[in-house]
């Protein structure tokens, strides 16, 4: 009789200790759950909206922008008609005369092109201007970016320009794309441009 009471008491004590352990485990799990909620919190609606809208609006504004008359982008042979647009005219010209700009691995800013904005090849001018504009906006707001332009013709795809933020990081991971902006190149092919923006 005495032995059975002793055993029951020991068992009860053991059960109590297990209960205590269970409570501690539950409390620790709850704590970890809270930490996980904090750690994996979704990006705010505003951040997503701003980034998604930024990529496409930047591309649209960049390619539509007309060059200043002070740049001296007079088109050889044809003369000055309208102020050339960065996208439609300068980038198109860059694609047409890309062979004069990049010879092997060398880059020739003085190479031939119809537009001679700031006295340089249209590819060089476009690259410099795009870099400057993106740096003064997206770069200043702490965004990373990567701009790409490819020329597509019947022989295949040629990489025209790649412009990254000053840190040179670009957007290798999670990013928002502007979508492809195609520009027809007279009797030659198509230039496809895209901008990626990331935090």
């Amino acid at each position: 009789m005495m032995k059975s009471v002793f055993i029951t008491g020991k068992r009860k004590k053991g059960q109590m200790e297990i209960m205590g352990l269970v409570i501690i485990v539950i409390l620790i799990t709850l704590g970890l759950l809270f930490m996980a909620i904090f750690a994996f919190k979704d990006e705010t609606q505003k951040k997503v909206f701003t980034r998604k809208g930024l990529a496409s609006s930047t591309m649209s504004a960049l390619l539509k922008a007309t060059t200043s008359s002070e740049e001296g982008c007079v088109q050889r042979f044809i003369g000055e008609a309208n102020l050339p647009k960065l996208g439609e005219d300068v980038l198109e010209d860059c694609a047409l005369y890309f062979a004069e700009y990049k010879v092997g691995d060398a880059v020739l800013a003085s190479g031939f092109s119809q537009y001679r904005c700031q006295g340089v090849h249209s590819c060089d001018f476009f690259k410099r201007k795009t870099d400057e504009l993106l740096q003064n906006t997206l770069g200043m707001w702490g965004k990373h970016y990567e701009y790409r332009s490819d020329f597509i013709d019947r022989f295949g795809t040629t990489e025209l320009l790649v412009i990254k933020d000053t840190a040179g990081r670009g957007c290798p991971g999670e990013r928002d794309a502007s979508g492809v902006y195609p520009i027809q190149v007279k009797f030659a092919g198509l230039v496809e441009s895209q901008l990626y923006v990331c935090d």
């Binding site: 930024l54 649209s60 504004a61 960049l62 922008a65 060059t67 200043s68 008359s69 309208n82 102020l83």
Partner: protein, 168 residues
Amino acid sequence: MMIMNNKKAQVQMTETIAILFIFFILVGLGISFYAKYRVVALDDQREELLQARAVRTTLKALFLPEILCSRGSAEPEENCVDVLKAKNFQKVLGEYSNDYYFEMFSYANISLFGIYPLSEKIVIYENPKLDHENTEKTYFIVTLRDETAGVSGVPAYGYGYMIVEVYS
């Protein structure tokens, strides 16, 4: 035997008190942690509400017919602001700022900045809240159309951005 039992009971009592003490410490920690979490969550919620208002105000400003690039009955150009309209918007604003535009933008500052080819600043709407707790700025890149700067009747397009600042 009795003394032995008493000692055992005392030990058990001390053990129970220690366990209860630790338990209450854990509960106390949990409560304080939860209270802090609620405060942070409330701040986050307030911040999210302000951000949502910033998004709404930015969209309203971007699609404001008074400054949007339009051409007759054709579809208006997206993310494009007509510089001439924007510059003259202040006159319209002066007449209706107390009711119509305040209902639309509330306490906010909306400005346009031209970067290329011309750098300039155009204030669209200015109504700051003096005793504000928090502000939220939204930047958006826009095309700036200028009918007066083009050649041969073709308007010039510029690269710029819009800053919308809302207050809470």
